[in-house]
């Protein structure tokens, strides 16, 4: 189930993540990366400030993507040998909420991209030799599948930064 897309303004938010180049399907890369983030943050005494997220830095479909698998933090933290420290930039974002199994997320992404195009809006994105580089393209995962076993209730927020 998809919500109506909308435009929201977001403040900048720091995060810590494991950066990986991945192919689709991700397999266990995402869950392993998030587990690594969680373990390292626990070791460093840093708490998550919000739900886990995937930040798609570069997309080169159908070959590979560069993704930050991470969580927001209260304040900017230092990177280390595992974690990259980044900031989700403030600005205007297009947002859509998907409720249901994660396998339907490709269709949800397509729906939000179609809406952005239909509205005459433009993503914060530029092409590069490595693929399309995004200003900030997020999938946020507020539902913990280990707690909520019913896949039809899994919520995912798609939040794409728009060009200024």
């Amino acid at each position: 189930m998809l919500s109506e897309p909308r435009i929201i303004d977001l403040p900048s938010r720091p995060y810590l993540a494991v950066r990986r180049i991945v192919k689709i399907p991700f397999g266990t890369v995402a869950s392993k990366a998030l587990a690594d983030v969680s373990r390292r943050m626990k070791k460093r005494g840093i708490a998550a400030a919000d739900a886990p997220l995937f930040r798609y830095n570069i997309i080169d479909m159908p070959n590979a993507l560069e993704v930050d698998f991470g969580v927001p933090t209260e304040r900017e933290e230092e990177p280390d040998d595992l974690l990259v420290a980044g900031v989700l930039p403030a600005g205007r974002y297009a947002m859509l909420t998907h409720t249901g199994p994660y396998r339907d997320l490709i269709a949800a992404n397509a729906a939000l991209l179609d809406w952005i195009k239909a509205e005459g809006l433009h993503l914060d994105m530029h092409p590069s030799p490595a693929g399309d580089v995004f200003g900030c393209r997020l999938e946020i995962y507020p539902t913990d599948p280990k707690i909520e076993k019913d896949r039809s209730k899994w919520v995912t927020e798609l939040v794409f930064k728009l060009a200024d």
Partner: protein, 283 residues
């Protein structure tokens, strides 16, 4: 058919690297796969191949990435992933540092200096001398003074120059006459070498450019090098690339031992390499 030699530590390391470089193995991972400590692997590999193990890994990953890009791989990210990199930025930086151009420039047809490519090292490429079984010697603690410095693996030509610079000090240090020592150790990407002599007491007026080194009382494996001094690297490669790891010893600081039988003018006369017999119990 002749009996096949068992895989050495270096064989195992190369085999493991070739099968795993897209997983970005760490030095610890490679050491685990070869069954020796990371320090032992590091030193054995450097001596056996003339290249630090992680530099070899990096060069192999980037060489295969270059081949894929040259052959028209459609995706830089996919090539980076295959080469074991986790970010586009990291891959691009490593690639540019190694080849001097970016992955995208390769795809655009820019050439590289192909001497920068690293193919898998084959066993026959190793330049190892045949070794006699070492004799065992126990020696009391002793102190050396001399000129020391750090040298790159394979950059052995700088060592004769070090000996030349040390020559003016000889006879002024109250040293034990007739013996000279070349201390080798602290292997990292490079290694420490000191050209020196044995002293019973460190001179009070020791020139500040000279350094001291003390070996404790211990047991040594003593290897003999009879060939010309210019072939000493081959003996070191055989000692540290094969004998030491294969017999379960740790490659700790050692010394070359020159006596009056050695002729520095001709480079002949033979020398000994004394390696502390450490780590046998860890087998």
């Amino acid at each position: 058919m002749g009996a096949k030699q068992p895989m050495s530590v270096i064989d195992k390391a190369i085999w493991f690297i070739e099968g795993n470089f897209n997983r970005s193995p760490s030095l610890d991972d490679i050491a685990r796969a070869t069954g020796v400590s990371r320090f032992s692997l590091s030193r054995s590999f450097s001596w056996g191949t003339g290249m630090p193990v992680m530099a070899y890994l990096r060069a192999r990953r980037l060489t295969e990435a270059w081949k894929a890009l040259r052959d028209g791989a459609p995706s830089i990210l996919a090539v980076a992933l295959e080469a074991g990199y986790s970010s586009h930025e990291g891959f691009t930086r490593a690639f540019r540092d190694h080849f001097g151009i970016t992955p995208d420039e390769v795809r655009s047809g820019c050439g590289i200096d192909e001497r920068l490519l690293t193919e898998p090292i084959k066993m026959e490429d190793w330049n190892m001398a045949d070794l006699e079984e070492p004799r065992r010697e126990t020696r009391d603690a002793f102190t050396l003074v001399g000129l020391g410095g750090r040298f790159e693996m394979g950059g052995g030509n700088a060592i004769p120059a070090l000996w030349q610079r040390f020559q003016p000090y000889e006879g002024t240090l109250g040293e034990v006459p007739g013996y000279w020592y070349g201390v080798c150790g602290d292997w990292r990407e490079d290694f420490f070498y000191m050209a020196g002599v044995e002293v019973k007491r460190i001179p009070a007026d020791l020139p500040p450019e000279l350094t001291t080194y003390r070996f404790p009382a211990q047991e040594y494996l003593v290897f003999r090098h009879e060939a010309h001094l210019s072939e000493l690297n081959r003996t070191f490669a055989a000692i540290f690339g094969r004998y030491i790891p294969d017999h379960g010893y740790e490659p700790v600081d050692c010394f070359e031992f020159y006596d009056e039988g050695f002729d520095p003018q001709t480079g002949l006369g033979g020398i000994e390499i004394w390696v502390p017999a450490k780590g046998k119990h860890q087998r």
